[in-house]
């Protein structure tokens, strides 16, 4: 089980996926199952890596750094989604304010913490 420090990150990522499913349903048809799937899969990848990092294996630091990279990939795609007008400016701001900036900070902190241990 993750420590109480990490639990908020789980919550953020979980909420993020939920929100992404919500906005994906309004994507234009040609993007809904291509670009939209990419985004959702990446978000699931993030939460999976979170799980793996917390599974107590030896590769904790590696997993967290992988999570960090995966999260950056997701950010890039959301940026593109906004430019393709799939995600409105308001939705983009909501994503950033409520999920991305907080989770990013938490992942960064977690990474730093485990860098000392690794």
């Amino acid at each position: 089980m993750p420590t109480s420090q990490q639990l908020p990150l789980y919550h953020k990522l979980y909420q993020l996926i939920k929100f992404l499913y919500g906005i994906r349903s309004n994507f234009a048809k040609e993007y809904k199952y291509t670009f939209g799937d990419d985004v959702v899969v990446l978000a699931w990848g993030c939460i999976d890596l979170f799980l793996e990092a917390n599974s107590g294996g030896k590769e904790k630091y590696l997993k967290i750094s992988m999570l960090s990279v995966e999260f950056d990939k997701l950010k890039l795609r959301l940026r593109m989604g906004q430019e393709l007008k799939l995600i409105s400016i308001g939705q983009f701001a909501h994503l950033q304010e409520n999920f991305i900036s907080d989770s990013g900070r938490m992942i960064g902190g977690w990474l730093k913490e485990n860098f000392a241990k690794a």
Partner: protein, 384 residues
């Protein structure tokens, strides 16, 4: 949550700021780490810790020697944030005939408006028309910070918005207006050029409580806001019908010469008492319109207008350098350069000029382009 200092508005300001500038190094550097940079900037703004960063200072030689301060990309976003908020309020107080830095205005609109004025005054070229062209000496350098901020204050507090909105916008305005880039800058380009900048046009020589940096988006808006008082004075108190302004270039038209001198006197009086500025006596011109009015890249006469000589020379020298053997600019790039000049020319009587430039100055490039019908623009020649 704040009405102004929130992520949505900031992101929108960022998008506006990035427009047409996306490929520049600074914009790309910012974009690489966009999300966290924006949220850091937002946190700074919300906590009130934000302070403008370092500006880049350089000198441009054309058309005149000017010292430019280019703000940091982050600061440019904040300028856009402020202007986006306040632009609508500004538009509602500006007069119709202020043409600088506004949506739906611009130099071409100013020129066509002036032509409209001349036709009205001269009764379709049957009467005489006089003009006065006024120039404020060292306009941007003589803007008083306190005075400017008080105008911002009046504008913002008069809006039908919440207290929080007013407080946030005023705070932004205060930070931007009172910021002095001369305290934190680095010089770029040829250092020798800095000595060429006239004293009254240099921010380094200006009094500490005066001067706005040329190059900031906010400065242009501030200039408009400051002279809006003058505009309204001329239109509403002097009841001067035929008046147009582009930044600090003022033109008053009239069919009555003594009246024109009276206007100039009153304008000067207003500038000195209210704005602590002076008219540039050397550049003040009062002439018959038939002698020509040199305004915004055109030379306007009573019945027709010509292109300013400087613009033509510039195009010719550009074409000359494009004809050099070592110039490898692609055809479509050359085309867009020449056509943008032709777009400018087209608004004046320039049929023969355009023809002449094509025939005699295009040189080697003539193989690639043809002149479209009416000499309006160039086209790439279709290879048969």
């Amino acid at each position: 949550m704040s009405e102004v200092l929130n992520y949505k508005k900031l992101y929108r300001a960022y998008l506006d700021c990035r427009k047409h500038k996306r490929r520049t190094v600074n914009a790309l550097k910012f974009e690489w780490d966009l999300e966290s940079k924006l949220s850091n900037l937002l946190a700074e703004l919300q906590s009130g810790e934000y302070a403008p960063g370092r500006s880049t200072c350089f000198v441009v030689e054309n058309p005149t020697v000017r010292e430019v301060f280019a703000a940091d990309f982050k600061d440019r976003i904040v300028h856009h944030l402020l202007i986006n908020e306040i632009e609508k309020a500004g538009e509602s107080v500006f007069i119709y005939d202020s043409f600088a830095c506004r949506k739906g205005k611009g130099t071409h609109k100013a020129i066509s408006r002036l032509k409209h004025f001349t036709r009205k005054i001269t009764d379709n070229s049957t009467k005489e028309c006089w003009y006065a062209q006024l120039d404020i000496s060292g306009f941007f350098m003589s803007i008083d910070h306190d005075l400017l901020f008080s105008i911002y204050e009046n504008l913002v507090t008069g809006q039908n918005k919440s207290m929080q909105w007013k407080r946030d916008v005023l705070w932004l305005a205060k930070v931007i207006v009172y910021h002095r880039p001369v305290d934190n800058y680095f010089k770029k380009g040829d250092r020798r050029l800095f000595a060429l900048v006239p004293k009254q046009k240099s921010l380094f020589e200006a009094l500490p409580q005066k001067g706005l940096p040329i190059g900031n988006y906010s400065s242009q808006f501030s200039g408009n806001l400051l002279l809006n008082g003058l505009d309204n004075f001329i239109k509403r108190s002097l009841k001067c019908e035929y008046y147009a302004r582009y930044v600090d270039d003022l033109v008053v038209l009239s069919d009555d010469l003594p009246k024109l001198w009276y206007y100039i006197g009153r304008i000067q009086e207003y500038l000195e008492t209210n704005l602590h500025m002076k008219l540039n006596q050397k550049k003040t011109k009062v002439k018959r319109l038939n002698e020509g009015l040199d305004f915004l890249g055109y030379f306007i006469k009573q019945d027709y207008s010509l292109v300013r000589r400087r613009v033509v020379t510039k195009l010719k020298s550009k074409l000359y350098s494009m004809n050099m053997a070592n110039n490898r600019a692609p055809a479509d790039q050359i085309l867009s350069v020449v056509n943008s000049y032709y777009g400018h020319f087209r608004r004046a009587a320039s049929y023969h000029l355009r023809e002449e430039i094509y025939e005699n100055h295009l040189g080697r490039l003539k193989e690639k382009f043809v002149l479209a019908e009416g000499c309006g623009y160039l086209e790439i020649k279709v290879q048969n």
